[in-house]
Symmetry: C2
């Protein structure tokens, strides 16, 4: 047993983490790959599975450059909107043709999630590693490339000497640690073969070495939960509930909530949303039986749910007509969109600020969670939900939202006041400098903290992840930042996190702390978390294996 | 002498500061005023000057509510854009009619500054006390009211039962500490009579009591500088250079810089801008001879300078045709506007990030400063410029921008490398949590810090001052924030400032520290600054007297 452990530690130490990321993603050309060398020592079987079927893309016109958003390779036909892409994909499926599509956009918004989910990859003009398109792409295991040089006009994209119209074939090649390329045409792609490979045995071996430090996954669909579990995740550290509403068949129901004039119609919309979410939660809890599932209540601003095109507005009006509710006019919808518009949405009416204004939304979500909990318990399964309140700014906010009735005269039904609630842990997402500094007070009302390092990086550095691509190249040129702060934890952000952990545990010594930002997959961040006494990181399912190995390597080093 | 000082201290202690603010602003109705009571003890003469000529607005249709942006009262005709307002005002002047106008906008942007400057007041749907329109209005001594209830459609505004079309008469009444009103019609306004009043004697008395603590003013025009000086300011703590470019006759020259394709054309635009700024600086330095003038280099994002209407675009094309330069097309301008658009401009490509990308802009500004300095020195006057770099995130940035050549291989001409530069103090604006935390390093390259508490509040709390009005009322209702954080310094922001002062002075014991945000006029903030070892606050000229009195009262209390 002793000897077996030593062998496992030796094997874990020998693996090159950056190569693991390559092994886990599709590739287009074997020539530049070196995974054979890496894998020889540890996982021959994996490398054989990933390296076959690769052919050359050399004959195709090529553009090189851009900012890697999500690594891998993807080929398909170009579409300039999520709707056009979904329609084309459905048609190709009917005709038995290749259904792969690439979404090409100036910038991606929350409403584009459905398009990214259906696409093989996404190419945007604005953004960067931590921009919306890239975060979502990594979450779904899609490829994302940001090319600020691309010029997109009505259904045509020009990138260097390449030109794409709607339906044209394109290939994106975004290696993990090398320059990216865009090809005019379809190159052959080789998919990684993960399940059943030696890699999984290796992950299981590594998990035995991480001691009390956990790797959880960010997941909000049953498919993601399954994937996360198969890749070794020990729970879900971030289940983003708004993503559940962005599905095409659901978003109009959420719009009813925002656009209905009467309380009765809003209540009906809430009922429908509750049923949808309850079903999602039930399926996720079932997959994750015996494991923690941290559910983040609604975080996105309401305007992200509003129609963004004429077709969207028509779709909503058709939906509401069919439902028999009072029809709103196009002008009324446009006026509401105008009212909800914000100058700086990242710093606007979102996160738990929505719950302060509209307590009924969180109440609906909590009811949905507990209906699912009771169903799972009826099946004699172990269910471990944790409720997380996003964008907490101070203790007073969390006290109101969690324990409304205890705030004298507020007349606010807090989460813990809801009948279905059964002493489930309530936690605060710490993603504002104010929350980190005020952690001692916030911990009075929070059983756990989860550090949302994407937003904490944005606010600490005053840096919008959606806009930073315009100037970060100059920052790299002059060496003004140590790496991309959305990929590698900035040291000032680290200071705030360490201070929040300390202040929080002065109030509540058994406070559980996790980190669920994009940086959670970075070995340096994992080392920082282990050194700071943070209990887990949560990252996208595809990043889980590398995170487990990193934690095991760090732990093995210490022993 | 001893007895005289005691008397002054007693008189200073007796004055109610909140009433002083009322005395300094126009009013519409004497009925609700209580300044008589206040002033009886201390400054009878002042109250008599402000309270006469007031008539009743009672007969006019009235709406009550809104958020006070800048106190006072203003009447005039309604216009829905800065351009329409400027045109109407010019026409009224020609005809010898009443030239007073009120600007009514959904939201105000930097390009609207010219309109606010020309207007008597501004009424916006979006915003709040710390939003752009309000900050600019307070700076210029204009009235600003935010009424989220207002509905503005093409040249008509509806507010409760009131309705305004272009050219209709309106009155805004925004008392300092009571509910605001909007009247349909023109009510009589009484202007405060400051110069020559007992108030000024009183300010002079109070200044003698503030010891080493200074009150400076935020000013960027010779008129503001004069006003600041007359109201007792001991220097300019914040001269925002981009405001100098927003003037109608200058903005097209700045647009040349952004829109020109050739380096030659950009150099010509820079030359013209240098001459304009040099002249401004010369006039301000002359007024402020013997006093510090802290000049903040360009902070605004480039998109704030771009045309925002068809008329703006036409005006630019006409301007460029007349200048004989290569004409850009409307489509090219629209494409550039699209490229510069940002999701969260507050966290985007602005502040010294502009200088990292385009060093020539700060170089031009520094040359303009030193040409003015030399002219003043030739006149044997004492000139004390200080150069301030905005939105510093870390020491590497400031090192590059200030001392470019010292950064190996950068090939970047820093401010201190510019020939005209003569060991003028260079400072960092500390307005990001990262800068506060990294203050120890930043102080290696900064002779002074200026805490920009507007932006520091926004980033620390993750709160956009332009968007917060949508949810802060609910926060007040549930008592979730101790006052408006853009008016009263939040305690987490205070912690970051105190920490930055300490860390900065560990590196540089004689580091000068100032505070130049909107909260600088608040007595509690002044007390915090004095307790923390901050050397001065800088606020809008109209707030200077109250700030001096507050500092004197705090000092008197201590003795």
């Amino acid at each position: 047993m002793k000897r077996g452990t030593l062998d496992a530690a030796g094997a874990v130490k020998a693996l090159d983490l950056s190569r693991l990321n390559e092994i886990l993603h599709p590739r287009i050309n074997a020539q530049s790959m070196t995974c054979n060398e890496v894998s020889r020592a540890t996982c021959n079987e994996v490398s054989r599975a990933t390296c076959n079927e690769v052919s050359r893309a050399e004959g195709l016109p090529k553009w090189t450059g851009g900012i890697s958003g999500a690594p891998g390779a993807a080929a398909g036909r170009v579409y300039f909107s999520a709707d056009a892409l979904l329609e084309a994909k459905a048609l190709a499926r009917q005709r038995g043709e290749d259904t792969r599509c690439i979404l090409v956009l100036p910038a991606a918004f929350a409403g584009d999630v459905k398009g990214i989910e259906a696409a093989a990859g996404v190419l945007t003009a604005q953004g960067g590693y931590a921009a919306h398109a890239s975060v979502v792409a990594r979450q779904y295991g899609k490829v994302s490339l940001v090319a600020p040089e691309i010029s997109i006009t009505d259904k045509t994209a020009i990138l260097g000497s390449l030109s794409f119209s709607e339906g044209d074939p394109i290939t994106l090649d975004v290696p993990y640690d090398a320059e990216s390329s865009v090809y005019q045409g379809i190159a052959e792609i080789s998919e990684p073969n993960i399940t059943g490979s030696a890699l999984l045995d290796f992950i299981a071996l590594a998990k035995g070495l991480t001691k009390n430090f956990q790797i959880r996954a960010n997941a909000e669909t049953p498919e993601d939960a399954e994937k996360a579990l198969s890749l070794g995740a020990e729970g879900i550290g971030l289940c983003r509930t708004e993503h559940m509403f962005f599905k095409p068949e659901r978003i109009n129901t959420f719009r009813e909530l925002i656009l209905s004039e009467s309380g009765g119609a809003r209540d009906k919309a809430l009922e429908k949303l509750r049923a949808m979410q309850g079903d999602d939660f039930y399926r996720i809890f079932k997959i994750m039986a015996g494991k923690h599932v941290t559910i983040r209540l609604l975080d996105a601003p309401l305007h992200e749910f509003m129609p963004r095109s004429d077709a969207d507005i028509t779709s909503y009006i058709d939906h509401i007509s069919a439902s028999g509710e009072t029809v709103v006019t196009r002008d009324e919808i446009l006026a509401r969109i105008e009212t909800l518009r914000e100058c700086n949405p990242m710093l606007g009416h979102r996160g738990c600020r929505i719950a302060v204004s509209y307590p009924e939304i969180y109440a609906m979500q909590v009811r949905a969670i507990f209906e699912a909990v009771h169903k799972i318990q009826d099946e004699k399964l172990d269910v471990r939900p944790e409720i997380m309140v996003p964008l907490v700014m101070n203790a007073a906010e969390l006290k109101l939202i969690a324990y409304g009735k205890r705030v004298e005269g507020a007349g606010y039904a807090g989460i813990a006041d809801i009948e279905e609630f059964r002493n489930c842990p309530i936690g605060a997402m710490i993603e504002l400098p104010a929350a980190a500094l005020g952690a001692g007070d916030i911990a009075r009302y929070a059983q756990f903290f989860s550090f949302g390092t994407n937003d904490l990086t944005q606010t600490t550095l005053g840096l919008s992840r959606d806009d930073a691509a315009a100037f970060l190249p100059a920052y790299s040129h002059y060496d003004l930042l140590e790496g991309n702060p959305f990929r590698v934890l900035d040291e000032r952000v680290q200071e705030l996190i360490a201070l929040a952990v300390d202040r929080g545990r002065l109030t509540r010594p058994d406070l559980v702390c996790g980190l669920c930002g994009e940086q959670g997959a970075d070995p340096a961040a994992i080392r920082f978390c282990m050194d700071t006494g943070i209990n887990y990181v949560s990252c996208s399912p595809y990043a889980v294996p590398a995170a487990i190995l990193a934690a095991a390597q760090i732990q093995a080093e210490k022993e």
